[in-house]
Amino acid sequence: MNPIAFPNVEYSDIGPILALVAGAMALLTYASLVRKKPPKGAYALFTVCTAGASLASSAWLWNRFDERGHAPHFAFSNMISVDGFAVFFFVVVAIAVALAALLGDSYLRREQLDGPEYYVLVLLSAAGGMLMAAANDLIVIFLGLETLSIALFVLAGFHRRRSESGEAAMKYFVLSAFSSAFLLYGIALVYGSTGTTNLAGIAQWLAANVAVTNGVLMGGLALLLVGFGFKVAAVPFHTWTPDVYQGSPTPVTAFMAGASKAAGFAALLRVFFSTFHVMRLDWKPLIWALAVASLLVGSLIAIVQTDIKRMLAYSSISHAGYVLVGLQAANNRGIAGALFYLLAYTFMVIGSFAIATVVGRRGDAEHSLDAYKGLARRRPALAFGFTVLLLAQAGVPLTSGFLAKFYVISAAVQSRSYALALIAMLAAVIAAFFYLRVILTMFSPAEGDDDESAVPAPLPVPFGVGLVLVSAVGFTLLAGILPSVFIEFARNATLLF
């Protein structure tokens, strides 16, 4: 029997992932060993610190790229690639974790679901997401995706008193398993036709066999797109999104919309743009179609929604369309645009769901548009924050949302996809309708508001949620007004592929 020569492993390469996993383990161990309830918010604080450690580790990685011998490279026997692209998503996911933890704290206490499980699952799920982003092997992507998803199934069904929550978990689970099967089948076909699941290996094979039109490979690619398309909620693989976003506990929805979508896109971008770059003429039309369908379907259905979470879900579908526009451009600007978009979107959408968390009140039930009536009067700051976030999602200038759209659309134009660029802009017009509708609702008086003496029911904004809002709104405005540093970040992330 041959002795096994373990590969040389440098764990600092996956420091951000390890930080999250370690945090989760620590939390789990503590909670199972110590009976005493920890002080209020301790879990959340710990999770935020973990995310902070992850961020710090990411920053360290990022800065090290400039050093000799630490340029972007593959690690763990070529299983992952340590590059700017990965680090970018580490950052995005870590931010999502921190924000989700802050949101979760008060929510869990309000809904009397407190305990460490939420945080553990969020941390582990996020680790899966990061893994997807860094993966250099289809099997790692698959494992990362499953890690992310399985934790999310649990989180979706976390609010066991709400039947919607269970239904969401159920639907998410069935459909996700279904799509994973397709993804896996796609991986198998790619494996068969190229002889490897390793992305670098695939790229090498493609470079050597560029002229061959390979049906199995292309079939595999199409099925990969099914799996990723499902994760990022692109039409026609979006059907789970509204139901799951609506049914899940709101902080979970926020995390899902932020981290899960980003991770899905990380894998999609890496596999399609980087690995299958030579086949871009084959996949661009598919992405084109998916982008158009997502843009239009997402916007059109969103305008007839009356539930805020559901509406945001549909809007997230149309946002996925924009990111796909960036991918469809298949140039560096497009990818950088997609990255910037995801960064901006993470803040916008988590901020938005933060407000839904507050307005949803106890039982996570009040998500109809009517619940937002008169918000501007009762909670002007909240209404202002939501307005900024919604306008950003609509793509109004001086917010990050505008630059994100501008970025991907400019990439599309650069690659001469004029029609797509125009469709994307027109979809933004449709989309603007429902964002404005929400804004309008907040600024219109609620029933009984005319009566000056009537005291509206208090709408407390917990500290954590406030923090989320401040950072979301702050980032949205900051990146909208002084975007250079963030754009630089996104651009460097693509250069350091």
Binding site: V413, F443, S484
Partner: protein
């Protein structure tokens, strides 16, 4: 040539006046936002003072503007998004100068004039933000910066209509926002296509309007498509027939100050865009497709007037009159003669003053009678002779009576257009007749006749209202009698623009409209 013009203007260094003009109102908005809600008087005062300070800056700009220089002055340029070659580049020339001045004038009046009943804080803050946006649009010399301002103004205006408007405000504000956004979609895409094609041809990625305009690299058909894209966006904003239907709704439902700004300043964003970008960036395409726009403008002039005549709502009537008036501006823009374009620019200012004033007046009537239905108003001249007199002057300005400002612009436009596009000018001139029909008819129904009880008891203009109208009336007369200082500053820039069009297209201006040698 442009470089020389810039060098000659030379006032780039020193105090960043233009940035200050844009930022001061924005700072004001923030300042207002920080004052507690209950301090309504303080809020109003602070808001007014900020807009007044902005007006002072605008006046400073006008005073220091180098007369006779054609190029951009007071240039400022700072990198904004380096990766895209986007810079915070501001500059002013004879075309934008007066629009900035107009904004500087109308906003303090709009803030001082009508008093809103509720939530003064948000209202004032939005107004100031709107001012920053509007001034930004006129000063931006970077396409993206322009676009940012062009879009951002929608937000405050949307809130002003939706928050302080009349019964049908939701529909109107939504329509306004979405319609304009629809146009912007074409603008943004065309803009990007232009920029990237320019990059392909020259290797430089830049949104700098001057650079884009001075190196014409586009193929004819491409330029036409791009021009069309720009034109759609601006046509919506102008609004040009048949993209105008958002305007009556928005104007009618907006609060008085909103209507004033909407008509006075915001519609000019479209005409200014056509002039600054349509002609400057796509000279040949503008020449080729000019007749299309001329035709739409002409239809708009006649159609707007005809439709205005039978409106039942006084505010709606004024709104449709804007469609007609803006038609003149577009007509002049695409006539490509010194007189027509200079007239257009002047007409932008004139329309801002007179239609702004008209909306103030309609607002005053509404405040007194709580209706805008023409059928319910009658004989107001009897209880309110001063109001009637002011209305008369403004109305005469609006219908283009010589000696008042409206005539000067309209006449120059028609005169200049006639030389190059005879029949368009002739048909458009009938708009002058129709303007008299609908305005006088409206005046007759509202102010003449024997007032019934409800109308007989209204108060005349208050001192506050008189103070608001006074500067407008003075300008209406002044610009009608002695427009020379204004024309002298517009004309060099217009001449340069036409020379630019001639340099880059097969168009040649007729001799008769050219600058006389040594004249």
């Amino acid at each position: 040539m442009i470089a020389a013009a810039i060098a000659e203007s030379g006032s780039g260094a020193g105090f960043p006046l233009l940035s200050a003009l844009v930022l001061l109102p924005a700072v004001g908005a923030v300042a207002v936002a920080l004052i507690p809600k209950t301090q309504e008087q303080v809020i109003r005062l602070v808001g007014f003072l900020f807009s007044l300070a902005t007006a002072a800056l605008a006046a400073l700009l006008v005073i220091n503007f180098k007369k006779g220089a054609a190029g951009f002055q007071f240039l400022e340029s700072y990198d904004w998004i380096k990766d895209f070659g986007v810079a915070w580049k501001l500059g002013v020339d004879g075309i934008s100068l007066w629009l900035v001045a107009l904004s500087g004038l109308l906003f303090p009046l709009a803030l001082a004039g009508p008093v809103v009943k509720k939530n003064a804080k948000n209202y004032v803050a939005w107004m100031l933000l709107l001012e920053a946006g509007c001034i930004g649009v006129f000063l931006a010399l970077d396409l993206l910066v322009f676009f940012v301002f062009f879009e951002i103004v929608l937000v405050p205006m949307y809130f002003l209509i939706a928050g302080w408007g009349y019964a049908n405000r939701t529909y109107a504000s939504m329509k306004f926002f979405l319609y304009t956004l629809f146009g912007s979609a074409f603008l943004l895409v065309s803009m990007l296509v232009l920029v990237f094609l320019h990059q392909k041809a020259t290797g430089e990625l830049t949104f700098d309007v001057v650079k884009l305009a001075e190196t014409q690299t586009l193929a004819t058909s491409t330029a036409r498509w791009l021009f069309l894209g720009f034109a759609i966006a601006f046509a919506v904003k102008v609004p040009l027939f048949p993209l105008h239907t958002w305007l009556p709704d928005a104007h009618t439902e907006a609060p008085t100050a909103g209507s004033v700004i909407l008509a006075g300043v915001m519609l000019k964003l479209g005409t200014y865009g056509l002039l600054r970008f349509g002609l400057y960036l796509f000279p040949q395409a503008a020449v080729d497709l000019g007749p299309v726009l001329l035709t739409l403008a002409t239809i708009g002039i006649v159609y707007g007037a005809v439709v205005a005549a039978v409106q039942k709502d006084l505010k709606r009537l004024v709104a449709y009159s804007s469609v007609a008036h803006l038609g003149f501006i577009v007509l002049g823009t695409f006539a490509f003669t010194n007189q027509a374009i200079t007239g257009s620019v002047l007409q932008m200012v004139n329309h801002g003053i007179s239609t702004g004033a008209l909306f103030f007046l309609v607002g005053m009537i509404y405040e007194r009678r709580h209706t805008r239905e023409i059928a319910e108003l009658r004989g107001l001249q009897k209880p309110a002779p001063i109001l009637a007199a002011v209305f008369t002057v403004v109305m005469l300005s609006s219908l283009g009576l010589p000696g008042l400002n409206g005539f000067v612009g309209e006449f120059l436009v028609l005169l200049g257009t006639f030389v190059t596009h005879r029949w368009w000018a002739v048909v458009s001139a009938t708009g002058v007749i129709l303007a008299a029909v609908y305005l006088l008819w409206a005046y007759q129904r509202v102010f003449h006749g024997e007032p019934d009880e409800a109308n007989a008891s209204i108060p005349d203009m208050s001192w506050r209202e008189r103070a608001v109208m006074a500067p407008l009336i003075v300008l209406i007369v002044f610009l009608g009698v002695y427009p020379k200082p204004v024309l002298d500053r517009i004309e060099p820039s217009v001449t340069r623009l036409i020379t630019h069009v001639e340099d880059h297209s097969d168009y040649r201006q007729p001799t008769v409209t050219r600058e006389v040698a040594g004249g």
